[in-house]
Amino acid sequence: MTDVLAEKRGIQRERCKTGIEGLDNILNGGIPRGNTILVTGSCGTGKTTLSLEFLVHGALSGEKCLFISVTEPSSKLLANLIPYEFFDDRLIEQGLLVFIDMPALYERLGLRKTEFTFEEIHMLVNAISGIVRELQIKRLVIDSITSVCFQLKTEEKIREFILKLGKALSDFGCTSLLVSEISPAEQRYSMYGVEEAIADGIIILGNLERKGDLLRTMQVVKMRGTSHSRAKYVLDLTPIGILLVPLLKGGMGAEK
């Protein structure tokens, strides 16, 4: 509520620069600090790459960053970071960039069931927000939230988890990306539909076929706390990071 009042008075919310120049331009300066963003798209569209770059730029500017990996071991993710020209090993040595494997966290909390109870969800939220508070994390990525939701099963539990977590993170001024996996044909932005409704922002990554050419695309469809472009952009994953240019509209595109 205070946000809404502040915006009405024309007070700009502090921005968390993603460090991806094209995305910061789309967002008029960056993600409003403390927002919880859903980064959504089908497999191979660049969600993990985008999230890692967001964290590395944060760490380079001196912010403490945390990557919680649910599906892949973090050692594998680290290997993905090596090709980046702007990546520096010391970020990890200095504790600016921290990786945690979610299965290890479940293990520590004694969460072994296939479906978590509300009590266990609170334990999990407390554990994550505890780490964020203790390490003074300013940027968090959970890759993927879909895999966590898989163990929550019901809409009520997913809602409880994301709302509680989002609240705790935003209280600490931590800006978070929750990675959401969807199938290419999916009509909505998240597997369960709940995630997209309660996130502060949604960034969609996708593929677009035009006359036989396949393009990687990005679109910001929602972002609380800032005006932003809603247009579709074409993206390239490069050793100097993600590059973005506007999707040209002169040709007719068919979604794939």
């Binding site: 006359k211 100097i240 040209l248 002169g250």
Partner: protein, 190 residues
């Protein structure tokens, strides 16, 4: 117009200018060489430019051979080659060259240029687009106009000197209009 006259005209324009360089169709080869000599041999070294040469006409290794034949310094030229692939001509991959699958992938051309602009952030830069006519063969006018607009404005905002090559008599009214919208000046070599 000879190469020195081309170079003199260019030298009168500041960084960040965008120029349509139209080459006369009669004696095309002589005009083309005069234009490139003026740009690459006389103008470019004086401004100490690093060049991004976007070709949608001649495969980059042939461009390079041609430039070397006329004793131009190619060590400061980075090619974005959007023609070799469709001519099945990528067996000779060169250094300082980025290949694009087809001249219809206009966004990819923009992305590779963006990549080079960032990599060459500390250099003074010249971008040559060769040519508007071949791009027009592969793309509709509306998307081409949009492409040119985004490209030239982006280059201008970064102070990059931009030269767009075209064949004078082959430019339709639409292409001429597009060029006059984005270019500060026109030089005709014939």
């Amino acid at each position: 117009m000879n190469s020195t006259e081309v170079a003199e005209r260019l030298k009168s324009m500041p960084d960040g200018s965008s120029i349509a360089l139209k080459i006369g169709e009669t004696n095309f080869a002589d005009n083309y060489v005069a234009a490139l000599n003026g740009v690459l041999k006389e103008f470019m070294p004086e401004r100490r430019y690093t060049c991004i040469y976007v070709t949608t006409t001649t495969p980059s290794h042939l461009c390079k051979n041609l430039f070397e034949m006329f004793e131009m310094d190619v060590s400061n030229i980075y090619f974005v080659d959007a023609i070799s692939h469709i001519m099945m001509n990528v067996s000779t991959q060169m250094e300082r060259t980025t290949y694009i699958e087809s001249p219809t992938m206009l966004e990819n051309i923009l992305l590779k240029i963006e990549f080079l602009l960032k990599k060459l952030a500390n250099e003074n830069k010249l971008l040559i687009l060769d040519s508007i006519n071949t791009l027009a063969i592969h793309n509709g006018n509306r998307i081409l106009a949009e492409f040119l607009h985004i490209l030239v404005n982006n280059l201008k905002s970064k102070g990059v000197f931009t030269i767009i090559l075209g064949v004078e008599e082959r430019n339709s009214d639409e292409i001429s209009n597009m060029l006059s919208l984005v270019c500060d000046d026109t030089i005709v070599v014939k």
